[in-house]
């Protein structure tokens, strides 16, 4: 594992995150938290690998449990964000 190249991705992504998040309008801070919640469930990738591979039955079940938890978050997080964002409306032109 090349630790330094992984670290450089991480550091650069932190900077990208810093600038992107400061540009988020305060009115959307609640949807921001909901959607970051959903995307941090990309951890499902790790759970899927654990669930898929043979070798350790305990690891498999831990993985499957992880898949369930992360799926709740992914589906719930994106759906609730969508629901919130749909409510933000412009003034109706009369």
């Amino acid at each position: 594992m090349d630790f330094i190249s992984i670290l450089s991705i991480f550091v650069l992504a932190c900077f990208v995150g810093y600038y992107v998040v400061w540009s988020v309008t305060p009115a959307l801070h609640t949807p921001l938290m909901a959607v970051t919640n959903a995307i941090s469930s990309v951890i499902i990738v790790g759970a899927l690998i654990a669930a898929a591979e043979a070798g350790s039955p305990i690891a498999k079940w831990l993985g499957l449990a992880g898949v369930v938890l992360a799926s709740i978050n992914i589906f719930g997080g994106f759906a609730v964000t969508e629901r919130m964002l749909a409510m933000y409306k412009k003034k109706e032109k009369k």
Partner: protein, 490 residues
Amino acid sequence: MYRLLLAAPFLALAAPAHAATGEAVNPWVALAYLVAGVFFILALRGLSSPSTSRTGNRFGIIGMLIAVVTTLVTHDIANIAEIGIAIFLGGIIGFTIARRIAMTAMPELVAGFHSLVGLAAVLVGWAAYLNPGAFGLLVDGGISPVSKVEMGLGIAIGAITFSGSVIAFAKLSGRMSGSPILLPARHVINLGTLAAILVLTALFAMAGPSETMPLIVALTVLAFLIGFLLIIPIGGADMPVVVSMLNSYSGWAAAAMGFTLGNTAMIITGALVGSSGAILSYIMCRAMNRSFISVIAGGFGADASAGGGEAKEQRPYKQGSAADAAFMLEQAEKVIIIPGYGMAVAQAQHALREMADLLEEKGVEVKYAIHPVAGRMPGHMNVLLAEASVPYENVFELEDINSEFAQADVAFIIGANDVVNPAAKTDKSSPIYGMPVFDVDKAKQVFFIKRSMGGVGYAGVDNDVFYMDQTMMLLSDAKKMVEEIVKALD
């Protein structure tokens, strides 16, 4: 946008190096995870304006789809049925929660979701520990010390996120008292536990393969414990910071797992979410003029409530009725409404919008002013107003509207208190001194909807606005009062 375009090539350059794992990784796989990461960046970028936000959310969904499909097609899956059931089960639960949840309950929902990310990180960390071969972590029959450090930290951060979020959820949803619970010598206990976790991580990394089990068990248990201990002393008023902070932790947990598994999508996302939560915590602390450390140390509002019981002189105030308020609102040219957590509790946002509609029909200009810490999480009030179909152009942030109070005929305060307290500007001994507040004292007339004169804000300080000449107290349940005003306006 251009900043992203600048950063993307750097990320792309860094990506192929990730292929240098134990087993040869297909560069296309690494590329797919990178693309997923970029979609997640675009998802957050979309939130810079309500008009682009829904596209952003779709980008997030696409990114997630890419990450999941990539994982599934690149691994030999022995039990696709079980995995399908797991995803389906989680999906149904998630969808149902998302559809049913009331907008006022958003803070506890987010806290609950954070706890799931934390627990998932712990599970993945443990799975990687038990079956390192599956993740390509086996080097000479064992896990390398670097991987073990990443694994240990990932499990620890995940566990802290989990137990901390569970407490935050319990406090926000009223299953547990919102007031701070102060253990004696809690700072010593907390710092000691944190130090123990770091020492255990180091021991775990250096231990031989046969000795690691008790260390990682102890590490996990201690991390669950510290998450619990960290959040119980923090009171209800500081919950916006806590929720943001746990948001940040859930990101760092995902990033730590990304380091362990060498997965770019997880690292990019973890970094994004981690910085997002950190920035939100910073914004919340700044809006309360408190340092992050003092919020984390906890106990705010615990002693102030005791002090409030002392015999205070009864100061005279004016009380009005809904009819009085309706009459004056009709005469006004400009009304600024300041909603707070009390509005959310009373579910008064729909009635409020009706009132604003009626006033606008009569030619009154109505604006909404939102303080960054109004409510129990960042942006909470904005969502509630959006739910009541208040157009977002009428909703303003503190610094954008504060100068307009001098021209406003009416400042209409509903369920807010500390955010309009002038003591924050003048009284150096006040616990909220230095917090930016709305200059409602400059408005010609102030209406203050409040349940009774007894309760004071979370900070437990008296508010001079109650006793000003131009203030009229409307003592009632927020929703009932607004509904009565609506009736009187009709």
